[in-house]
Symmetry: D2
Subunit: 331 residues, 4 copies
């Protein structure tokens, strides 16, 4: 829905078609009351889509679906942006282990570019198949990569404590997404076992050359949107607060969607609500020689649909921020 | 903040200046972290504003402040849109009774146009001073006026049960706006005594000619934004569901921001979150010959800043929806 | 769960057995983590229950289940308290219309006593089969009965605007109970069609002799527990604030669980959280000659399990408040 | 309020007197509507308290107040339980550094016993002055002490990521406790600078002999009550999941209020809501040789009032769980 909302308002998009395997023929607004009288189009089956005339296809399905759906559509003069996990993991055994599914064909996996735009825009620009990053990896990697690349922190010491709003748990009604279960309560889940772990490790390896294993836990917070990653590492002794701040500013000075705050700013997730920003702060603890890095995103925007549109912009040589320039909405 | 957000993204606005009596000289972003690196301007004193060059001035202060601030600025080739209650009530004794404050000068009160755009756009177009409607009156009146104007309901039977998110209670930290007081709880306040009562009654009188007194109660809901008005009246016996639906569709068919849903739709406030829409439904109760009308708005948009921008658009002969065309944000 | 919690801590209860049709054999704590190491007993099938040795059986199933389950167990030296709607409605056609189910056998319906303890304790005391009231009817009736019985309000003018926390929508995960659907949002549902309407009307008739039809709407509030009923009626002209207050105090002076607050108190649902209290206030509107009555309960306590235990106490000649004397929990 | 609620229902408490410096003379229920008709006593000045006849005095004031208030009352045949930070820190310079206040007299600091009941009950039993632990330290220490004491984890590797409901931020209305600021949002605050850090380090030192410095961050969660501490450490290579589980069970097998769950249980804060339990789980990460320990408490019970009553029970040779035996309340 967020993707649709963004594309509908995007100045360079002429027309958007909606595909649904299970609900083809229904009006979108049968399901989503808030778009009543705004959207007047049916959900289509694959056959009803004018594939030949499309420039770009976004696929946002539960993991495993893209593996079936996308191979026949790839390499057909159609750029594809996949928002699921299927094409993110290069090593097929790793994929099998963490996703407990069969991976897509090797050729396509190799072809897919990991769309962490701020760190990969040259490859994104040339690609026809984007594996759009997961929500947690986006928040974590944007915070960590500047420090890892410059050797400021010790990779083996990395601990990531991640917190997400409940929209991250999907739209299916389950015991775990029931209001009464989550309201006024905070939970931890998938301890050390979240499938985003290999995605983070692989990207660290590919971008910084560092081979490391991270400790990573995820929590559900009684809020709809938003992710905060609180990250801990030992700081190499040659560095201090000022050098950390400089590295961040250098890394992101010309990146529209990453905002670097002063050390020890009390970040909160709602400061990026509804926007494509990733906001960062950090604090150096002289007592323990550790650094805490904090990153917040809107999981449905920078953590999913927003970053997908950002990648589309880059793929089509548009301004990276086109259609994404609205401020966060607060309160 | 919402007003500023809307104006910053408005295609016809060249420049926005920010005035603050108490914080002139400070950067806006000292207070509002979410606009960091988006807004880079100081809050100004009145003297620092280039009044001569401004086209329009929005005033959004606690009630009583506009009474002091605006008279010297009125009738100076500057259109004014006041978001407070000061200029809404025509009868000065009524104002004194409900606001417990002295009203502004009579000439200005008479000059002020009540900016319920859907019902008053001809007057808004010609006006230089708009009293922008209150949040509750906007939700209530858009639901009631079609039925009152056509004589479908009995005015004396009107009961309005209004519910608001807590942003409606202002930004000042008080016992009443404390998180722990409001979270996981629902409260009633100002029973029969809310200052929006005379505003609703006056507007009913001016638009439909009906002199009536309403019963009106307000509740605080544990959510940030959103208003729902659930309204009850006896239905004149000549009418039924179909005629009610027709009257609503007729009244709002060419109004961009009012969406009429089918009878008995389960409306929810988040279906208008972040948008300028007012969504309506109703249900006729054949057992009691009563009708329930339900109206939802985002109190900060259609209930305040959004409607103010809508009025500005009309005043300057722009498309009514300019700068307000974004979809609601859900979930 | 609340019932089990209350009974486990009740000083006069020797042993509690748990029955489940679908999960017999499982440990209760497989489902309910918060009772780990507190409860160590399995869920039992009907056959595994020592029916002969039981003094009282509580049945808390979706409506329709008791109709099947309870008839074979009735009139067997076992007192039964049913928390569902099955035995509440005396008129079988009314039951069929509102519940769209077949009612239980006539003899049992006639035998069942409606357990609104404050108004029916003499009958409760002698009964072997209690139809425990619904959550909305409990809140509404405790507020209305004193005024209706004394003729202070005009029955035909009655409007009830009811609001409930989401635990009232059941434990099943559905689109309607999903966190992201409900969080930060307020919805209206079942307009004029809630099955609690005939229960309220029937009880008004039986206790005050007044035959009337009510207008009744229900809303879901983004909170777990709590019900507020905001009720509107025309006040007979012979009465004023003081006489209303007197009638309430007279009606409930010796009722442990009904607290009458001063006129125009800002009641909130959390002031009864976790307790068996029903708190009441009211406001007389001299402008419209209408009265607003406000009632708040914890829907899981006074609106279900708490009132069931209160009824049990009365049935067994215990102190009405036994095992229910804990204060509300705030914040 | 929670303390008062617990003491009022405690079977061994005869009478409770309430003291307030600022509101002496007022009825308690002027402030706390939920106790209306339950409590009928005024708040008293110090002079109005029958100090000679009291057995125990609880002091729950902002830090710094006890330093002024308690010294004249100490050692007077009156047991004192202080819930603030004033008497917790043994090293006066440490106290000055983290609290930015002058500490109480040395003799009293030395006399004060740190009331982490599960680890200190022998000293508590003999004490007349208890420094009741802070909310975060209670959650953290109960999770960490078994592993530190047995040398299973490397102290220098300790990272504590703590999350609290907003009742932990106090009852004063501030920008930071405003509903609209916190609702649907998650924030980090006091990075590396929370005054509970030296309390945790000191207690580790005193109970295990280990001198270490911890990295500790705190977050505000949009919920009223509850704390979760997610804690990370390197596991000594001699240990595995099973040995960890055994150590926990051994440490807490006879401790009423600590429940040890299976490895990798999805704990959530509401499973201890309204109760004095501290629930624990853990997960060993074989990939990184790190262990994650998770601890949840109700910050107002085990993190404050509940533990205070638990200490009182021990001081007066009552059953440790007296008056605290209610189950958690869920949902």
């Amino acid at each position: 829905m967020e993707l649709f909302r963004l594309l509908s308002a995007h100045p360079e998009i002429k027309e958007v078609f909606l595909y649904s395997s299970s609900k083809a023929g229904q009006q979108l607004t049968d399901e989503v009351q808030h778009l009543y009288q705004i959207v007047n189009q049916p959900l289509r089956s694959l056959e009803q889509l004018p594939i030949d005339k499309l420039d770009v296809l976004f696929c946002s399905a539960p993991s495993g679906v893209s593996t079936e759906l996308l191979p026949p559509l790839a390499n057909k003069n159609l750029k594809i942006i996949d928002l699921a996990g299927d094409f993110r993991i290069k090593n097929q055994d790793t994929y099998r282990k963490w996703y407990r599914k069969e991976p897509p064909p090797t050729a396509l996996i190799n072809q897919a570019v990991y769309g962490l735009t701020e760190w990969n825009s040259e490859d994104v620009k040339k690609s026809d198949l984007i594996a759009n990053p997961g929500c947690y990896p986006t928040a974590a990697l944007l915070g960590l990569l500047p420090l890892l690349k410059t050797g400021m922190i010790k990779p083996a010491s990395l601990v990531i404590d991640a917190k997400s709003g409940i929209s991250g748990a999907g739209v299916s009604p389950t015991k775990g997404t029931h209001f009464s279960q989550n309201n006024d309560s905070l939970s931890i889940y998938k301890m050390h076992q979240h499938q985003h772990i290999p995605e983070i490790e692989q990207t660290i390896q590919r971008i910084t050359g560092i081979d490391t294993k991270i400790t990573f836990n995820t929590h559900l917070i009684p809020m709809t949107r938003g992710i905060m990653a609180t990250m801990y590492a030992e700081l190499d002794e040659d560095f201090d607060s000022q050098s950390v701040k400089e590295i961040y500013e250098e890394s992101y000075s010309n990146k529209h969607f990453v905002r670097v705050y002063d050390e020890r700013t009390n970040l909160f997730t709602k400061q990026v609500y509804g926007s494509n920003y990733c906001d960062l702060t950090f604090a150096v603890d002289d007592r323990t020689n550790r650094i805490t890095v904090v990153s917040v995103i809107d999981n449905l925007l920078k953590g999913a649909a927003g970053q997908a549109v950002q990648n589309m912009n880059v793929m089509f040589n548009l301004d990276e921020a086109e259609g994404l320039q609205h401020s966060p909405m607060f309160p």
